[in-house]
Symmetry: C3
C-alpha cells in the first residue's frame, strides 16, 4: 500500500482494463502509465511471481550478498555460512533501517548501521539492546523464497510461491547445466535506467521486428526471432533459408555434445512462464561479438567446442538470457516507477578466466552494451507515445507473437491475483 | 485520463470552484495548483479550444514540421507535399512510439523510428509489416484540426472544433494580412520553462500594472495597457496624455497605409476569444527595441513605412503577439504540469532578410528575451504564493480588467465543457 | 488542501492508523511515507502547534526578517519598527505573490516585488493601486502568533494557539534567561535537506542508542541520553558511573551560579510538550567541541564560568537545543514532503564576539556539522526501510523511551486535531 487511499476503487477499474484487453493488440495506455497499475504490478506480479534475481556467480563466498530493489522493495540475496543461497527483505526488524546499501558486498554477520542489530547469514537475530524483553526468534530477517536453477537465482516474495516453477526448473536445467553457470564468475555488470514502463522493456525484448535498429547485434543474430514460414516478409525470405540451412549444421554440433536444443515454450500457459531454445549464430557461430568469435578463450562448464551458437531463455515476467560456449549474458528487469525501469545486465565467463588474458572486457560487452542503449531509446519512445491521450492499442505484427504472449501472461496473472487479493 | 481514479468525484469539486468564482478577484488556489484541475485544463481547455501552435513560417517547405507538446499530448504541424499545412497526433498507430522527436525538422515521409511504419505527409499509412492483415486506411495518423490565419497556425484537438473561430479569422485577417506573416522567416525561437501554472503566465501578460519591472520594454511601450481615463493613477496621468497625443499621429500613419487600427475585443464573450488593436510606440516608434528603431532593414509584407507602432493580438487561451513594421514576435503558452509552463517565443522577419546584414540577432531579441525573464520571475512568485494554504483570492486592480476577462473566459469554458463532458 | 480530492476518506484511514498504534513500537509505515498523512501533519501538527522558528538573534534590528518554509507554507518572522517581533504569512494579499524570497534580509516596508503592494512592518497595507475601491484594513498581511521565550521564537498558525505554551515558557525561562540568548548573535546557520520523513529526524534526535555513530559528539557527550540504572547495558555501566560522579561536580558549579538544573519533562502529557535538563560534559566540560573547551572566549549572558556543561531543551514537534556557557546551538526541523525534511542549525555566540578574534568558526561548528551529516544518513536509512512493504513496526529499546514519547505525543495530537477538524 503506497498511499492510504490509493487503491480505493482501483481494483474494479483494473479489472475492466483486463477484461477489455484485445488479443494481438498492444495494451491500453493506463496499463503502461498509471501509478495505480504500477502499484498493482509490484504487489501482484513482482510480489507474487518468481522473478529472476541474478546469477549465483555474484555470490561466490559465504557472506557475499547482492541487493535487488524494485518498486518500494529492497531484497538481498546472499550466500550463508553453510554455503547455501538465501534471500531476505533488506529491512531491519528494529526500526526498519535499510541494512545493506551497496549493490554487492561481503559481510560476516548482517549488522544494521543504525543501532547494530546483528543477524547471522541465516537471518537469525543474534543480538539487540534490550533483547531480553522480547522473543528474538520473532525478529529474524523476513525470508524470501529463493530457487537456484543451474546457477540462476530466482526469488519469490509471496507467502506461497507458485509451484509450477518446479516444472520450469526440471525442464530447463538439462539445457543449462552443461554451461556451468553455477561455477562461473561475473566479468561485468551494467545497470541502466530506462524511462519507460517495465512491460515496454519486456515487450521490446520479445520481438525482432525492430532489429534493423541493432547493427551490432545483427552481425551474428539472424534477426529471425518471431519469424517463421507463415509470417516471413519477402525481404527476409533469403535470411530465413540461410538460417534453416545453418541450423542443420548446428544441430549436429549440439547433438555431438549431447546438448538439448529443441524449443520448449510455456510463455502464457503457466504461471512460471518461460521459453528456451538453442539457436545458431551467423559467421563463426561462436558468440554474439563483433566478429562472431568467442570473446573468452575458455569454454564454460563441460562444453568442448566454441561453435555452439546460443541457448536463449526467456522467463516471465522479468528476464532473458543468452548462453554461449565462452560466455553468458543475463538480463534482469526491475520496475522503479510507472515510467522508470532498471535493466541489469551481467556478463559471465568461466570462473578461472582472467581479464586481459582470457578475454578483453570491451570485446566481451560491446554488442549488448550498444544493443541495450538502442533498446532503451525504443522503450522510451514507446512510453512517450503511451502517455498521449491520443494513443490507442495498435495491432501487433505476426512476428510479434511473443510480445502478445507476454501481454497475455501479464493480464492473466494480474487478473487472477487481483481476484484472489 | 491520467490515472485511473484521478477524476472520481473531481468534476463536482471543480464545478464548485467555478460556481464560487468571485469576479474581479484572482482565482482560488486549487485552480492554479491542483493536479486534478490541471488534468481538466488539458482535457477541456487545451483539448477543446483552438490553440495557437506557432507561425506558418516555421514550415517553409513540404516535409517541414514543428513539434508541440502540452500536458501529455504531442502534436506535429507540418507542410504536406501539396503545400498545405496539416496537424497530427505524434503517435504511431502500431505500438504508439513517438514519431518525431525534434522541435523542428524535415521529413520525406513520416517513418516511425521503432518499426518503420511509414506515413505520407498527409498522414496516410503507406506501409507496415503485416499490413495485409488489417485495413491500412484505419491506421493513418490521427488528424488534428488546423487553421492558418494570415500566417498564424491554430490547432484544435476536439472532435468538433468551436465554430466561432471563423469570426475571429474574418475579423482579424484584415489587420494582419498587410504584415505578410505567411511570407516571413523565423529569425529566432526561444523556449523557457516557467515554474508556475499556465494561467499565471497568461494573467501576467494581460496587465501592465507590473510593467515597472520591465525597464527594457518600457523604453518604447507606454505601459498604458489596461489603463484609461477611468482608472488612471495620478502618477501615470502625464503618460496617458502623451500616449493619446502620439496616438493621433499614428492614426494618420496607419490610415495612410490603409491599416485597420481600431480595438476589436471579444475576450470573454466568445469561445474563440481574442483582442486586437494597433498601438503607437514611444520615441522613433518603429519597434520594441532598445532605441525604438526598426531592428531589421526590411519592412514586412506590403508595409512601406517603419514608423507604424505595433499591432497587438491576444488570443484565449494561450497566445499574444506584437507585429511591427520590421519584425513580429509571437508567444505560445503550453502547460507542462500544474507548476510548469513552456513559453515559446518566436521572432519573425521578412523571409529574404539576412542575419548580420539586415538585422543583428541580439538587437532583435534583446527586449523580449529580458522581458520574458522578468515575467518568468513574476509568474514564479505568484505560483509560490498560490501554493500557500494562507493564500486567498485578492482584488484585481482596475487596470487588471483583462486579467479578469481571461479568468472569466477560463471558468466559463471550463464549466461548460465540464457540463457537456 | 493540496489537491481537491486528496483528503476524501483519508481521515478515517488515519484515525485507524492512530487507533492501531502500538506503544513502544515504531509507527506504521504510512505514517512516515504517505502523502496524505504528510498533508495532515502539515495541517494538524505544523498548522496547529507552537513550532520553533529560530532565534530572536536573527532579527537584531527593525526590518530584519527571517523566512521559514514548511509544507506549502511560507512564513516570515520580523522585527517591527517598534522593536517587537512579528510573524506573517509570506503571501501578498493582492494576487498572492511571495513577498520575501531570501532566507534572511532587511526591509523598510514590505513591498511586493510584483505590483508593489506595500505593507508596514506591522503588516498593515499602506498602499495599493486602486485601493480606494476596497477597505485597506481588510488586506493587511495575515498574522501568525509569535512568542519569544528568552530569545527563542515560536510561532503558531492556528486561529487559537494552544494555551499550555505559557506553562512551558514560565517553567523554562528561568533555565535559559541567564544564557542571554536574546542578546546573542548568529555566528553561523546551516540548512541540510534530509531525504526522510520529519518524524524520523525527530525520533533520531530523541535517543542516544545510535551514538556510536557519532565519534565527534562522543568526545564530550557521555552518550547516556535515555539510559538510566534501569536500562543500562553492561558495556555502558562504567560510563554511567562516571557520568553520575561528574554530575555531582557540575551540580555544585550550577548551584554556584544559581542556575536551575533539574530535569523538567512534559513530553507527552501536554500539547506544548518539552523537556529541559542541565547535563555535565566530559573532559574540560565547557562545550561540545573536539577538545571539550569553550569555542568562544566570551561567556554568554550573565554566566561567569565556562565549565557549565550544557542545558538541553527538546520541544515537540520540531526542535532541540544545546546551551553552553560560550555558545548555543539550536535545531529547527521543517517538513518539506513525506520524504524530505529541512534541518536548520544555528550557532549563537555573545553579540559582541568577533569571528577570528573570539572564536574560530570551524572549531565552533565542527562537532554538530559532522554529527548532523551522520544523523542525516541514519534518517535516510530509516526512511528507505519504511518505504518497503516488508517493514513493520519494531520494538523500541528501553533507552529509546523518549522516541516513544515523541510518537505518543504525535499520535495524540494528530488524533485529537483530526477529531476536531
Amino acid at each position: 500500500m503506497l498511499d492510504i487511499a490509493s487503491h480505493r476503487g482501483v481494483a474494479s477499474d483494473v479489472a475492466g482494463l483486463i477484461a477489455r484487453r484485445r488479443p494481438s493488440f498492444s495494451l491500453e495506455a493506463a496499463l503502461y502509465t498509471s501509478q495505480d497499475v504500477f502499484d498493482l504490478d509490484v504487489e501482484l506480479i513482482f510480489g507474487r511471481q518468481w522473478i529472476f534475481a541474478g546469477p549465483e556467480a555474484a555470490l561466490p563466498e559465504p557472506g557475499d550478498y547482492a541487493k535487488l530493489d524494485f518498486g518500494r522493495y529492497s531484497i538481498i540475496t546472499l550466500r550463508d555460512d553453510d554455503g547455501g543461497v538465501r534471500a531476505f527483505h533488506n529491512v531491519c526488524r528494529h526500526r526498519g533501517a535499510r541494512l545493506l546499501n551497496e549493490c554487492n558486498g561481503t559481510v560476516g554477520n548482517i549488522v544494521c548501521p543504525y543501532h547494530q542489530w546483528t543477524y547471522d547469514t541465516g537471518g537469525k537475530l543474534l543480538h539487540a539492546e534490550g533483547d531480553h524483553a522480547f522473543d528474538r526468534a520473532q525478529y529474524g530477517l523476513k525470508p524470501v523464497h529463493i530457487h537456484n536453477v543451474a546457477g540462476l537465482l530466482f526469488v519469490c516474495l509471496a507467502k506461497e510461491a507458485p509451484t509450477d516453477f518446479d516444472k520450469f526448473a526440471a525442464e530447463f536445467e538439462p539445457y543449462l547445466l552443461p554451461h556451468g553457470i553455477g561455477d562461473s564468475k561475473v566479468a561485468y555488470q551494467m545497470d541502466i535506467v530506462e524511462k519507460g514502463n517495465w512491460k515496454l522493456t519486456m515487450e521490446n525484448n520479445r520481438e525482432c521486428y525492430h532489429c534493423g535498429g541493432h547493427p551490432e547485434l545483427s552481425v551474428t543474430a539472424f534477426g529471425m526471432f518471431g519469424y517463421n514460414e507463415d509470417n516471413i516478409t519477402p525481404e527476409k525470405e533469403a535470411v530465413l533459408r540461410q538460417y534453416k540451412s545453418v541450423q542443420s549444421d548446428f544441430i549436429r554440433l549440439w547433438e555431438g555434445e549431447n546438448l538439448p536444443w529443441h524449443a520448449v515454450e510455456h510463455l502464457d500457459d503457466r504461471q512460471a512462464g518461460f521459453r528456451a531454445e538453442r539457436h545458431p549464430l551467423d559467421g563463426p557461430g561462436e558468440a554474439m561479438t563483433m566478429d562472431g568469435k568467442a570473446a573468452c578463450k575458455r569454454t564454460m562448464g563441460r562444453l568442448k567446442n566454441f561453435r555452439l551458437g546460443r541457448l536463449h531463455l526467456h522467463t516471465q515476467p522479468n528476464s532473458w538470457h543468452h548462453f554461449q560456449a565462452d560466455h553468458a549474458v543475463t538480463f534482469c528487469v526491475l520496475p522503479i516507477s510507472p515510467g522508470e525501469t532498471l535493466l541489469r545486465t551481467t556478463w559471465l565467463v568461466h570462473k578461472d578466466a582472467v581479464e586481459g588474458v582470457d578475454y578483453e572486457l570491451d570485446n566481451l560487452i560491446h554488442v549488448w552494451r550498444e544493443t541495450n542503449r538502442q533498446d532503451q531509446h525504443f522503450v522510451e519512445l514507446a512510453h512517450l507515445g503511451a502517455l498521449s491521450p491520443a494513443y490507442e492499442p495498435g495491432p501487433y505484427a505476426p512476428s510479434e507473437g511473443q510480445v502478445d504472449k507476454f501481454c497475455s501472461w501479464y493480464v492473466t496473472q494480474l487478473g487472477s491475483n487481483l481476484a484472489r487479493r
